[in-house]
Amino acid sequence: MNFIKTIVAAGLVAATTTAAFAADITGAGATFPFPIYSKWADAYKKETGNGLNYQSIGSGGGIKQIQAKTVTFGASDAPLKAEQLEKDGLAQWPMVMGAIVPVVNLEGVKAGELVFDGETLANIYLGKITKWDDAAIKKLNPNVKLPSDAITVVRRSDGSGTTFNFTNYLSKASADWKSKVGEGTAVEWPVGVGAKGNEGVSGNISQTKNSIGYVEYAYAKQNKLTYTGLVNKAGKPVQPTVEAFQAAASNADWAKAPGYYVILTDQPGDKSWPITAATFILMHKDATDKAASQEAIKFFRWAFKNGGKAAEELDYIPMPDSVVQLIEKTWAAEIKS
């Protein structure tokens, strides 16, 4: 009954009023930020009465739908390049961040004890390092007792933004990886077994001895997996913490990147976590339905202002204030009302 009433009401509003009334904001795209977008939408609805309908269909689908103008905003884990944005008349900005952490299952090794650098991680995923007591791993971890067992490599089987950011980091850290495998949401993995989703990888790691994998920080934390530290671009070993993720975002040069095309992996700074990732929003600069566009911007502004705590509760990382200020300027300059 309620549903029918809503439809009738919406129809009446559309037919009788000239000033467009607040219909639900529609968006589609990346699955990674879905939990926080829906939590924000919930709180926003309670506060303002305006709803958000977000379909998590994957980044590729999000890009396609915004290009086809079937939604008010699209969401993607991988940003579009400036030329592509220009071509489609789109504006783009980062909305919230996450981080990717290597996780291992090694007897006697606790979370945070091991440390890798990008080169070693790439060589493990290339199948060049096959034993846990390989010289390269030993050199990074002189105080950890490592078994001489074979490494079971676990990775994602589904196309995913997580894989995009992980392989992007490996490409930056290892020339060999860049030339042999490269980066993408799905790549030609030289070794390893593929598991579906973050939950698949976490499940696999917790079951398989002597395994290594990569998951979203939230999954590592919630499933109490043994995450490892990483040596960042500045050569400092860092642990995956919210401060380290935010450091990576703050140290990134957003202001000079057209369309905020910054991939947060391997950012400079002593404290930066090397595999941090932002998830992006895409909107038409000159949308056919300007009222809907403005509604969406209102929602995003509200989320930046009030949504930080909710994001942290779900183990997302809010954008630093300096970046939010830049984004506000972008909205004023680019989105036509």
């Binding site: 089987s157 490269g182 790549v187 030609e188 993995w189 077994v193 598991a195």
Partner: protein, 329 residues
Amino acid sequence: MAVQSDIVDDAGPYDRAKALSAFKLGDVTFYWITRLSAISVLLILGGIILSLIVGAFPAMKEYGFAFLWTQRWAPSADPPVLGALGPMYGTLVTSFIAMLIAIPVGLGIAIFLTELCPQWLRRPIGMAIELLAGIPSIIYGMWGFFVLGPFLANTFQPFMIKIFDGVPVLGAIFAGPPSYLSLFNAALILAIMVLPFITSISVDVFKTVPPVLKEAAYGVGCTTWEVVRSVVIPYTRVGIIGGVMLALGRALGETMAVTFIIGNSFRISSSIFAPGTTISAAIASEFAESDGLHQSGLILLGLLLFVLTFFVLAGARLMLMRLEKKAGK
């Protein structure tokens, strides 16, 4: 009777014609409704094939027939290098192993149920089989992932690897290292999943064997084994093959459970304990985040599965026809 004839007498010739034409209208409507439903199947099937071909066209143009024997699957390369050999190999191998296990076990259960089983045990076993068919495939996938996988990797696979170590051919098929996620695990799950198809259809057709035939065979001193082998199975061969084909169709296309436990690796390994992938698992895994040629390649994989299934089923029909011809002589 009297009442009926009264009505007919009262109705008169004119009314009778009218009534008949009313019936005729009903008949014609019924005929067309059923006919249209039947034709709609062809239309839907044609539509699916057509849209698959349209979607797959860019990939067909790019890769041509080389798609069939290219083993690389590198969607992130520029331009993407895509080949179907890995998933096709996985699809055929897992289905083959699954049938190898499921056919004898399924027939065994069916024979036991119809010929040997004491009355009181029939219902529980029959119901268990039906339950097996009713379990959603995701549950099989999860069970395979959490229970079967670890058991196989820790117990069964090391044992097999040790036994066949050094034996030519078999040594390569059962080569290590043991893995939680492998072609073999997926095949085993598939075997369990298709078991009910083979069993319940076999049970149904076994019940159609005229008791006279069996009694006659027993009468001349046949053992149960001989009755099953020489009377029941020849009599129901067509039905059994139908059940096996239905099971094979399911095994070729099963997606969710397989995606969970096959390891999703596009490389072909001689060992069945190595991770692999199937056509449907590859599509399910990568479709959501794919675009351009990559997506078109996935649709082409879908078309291939369609064609593969078609050929398998057509082959089965041919075999059936030859069998029937032979029996006819």
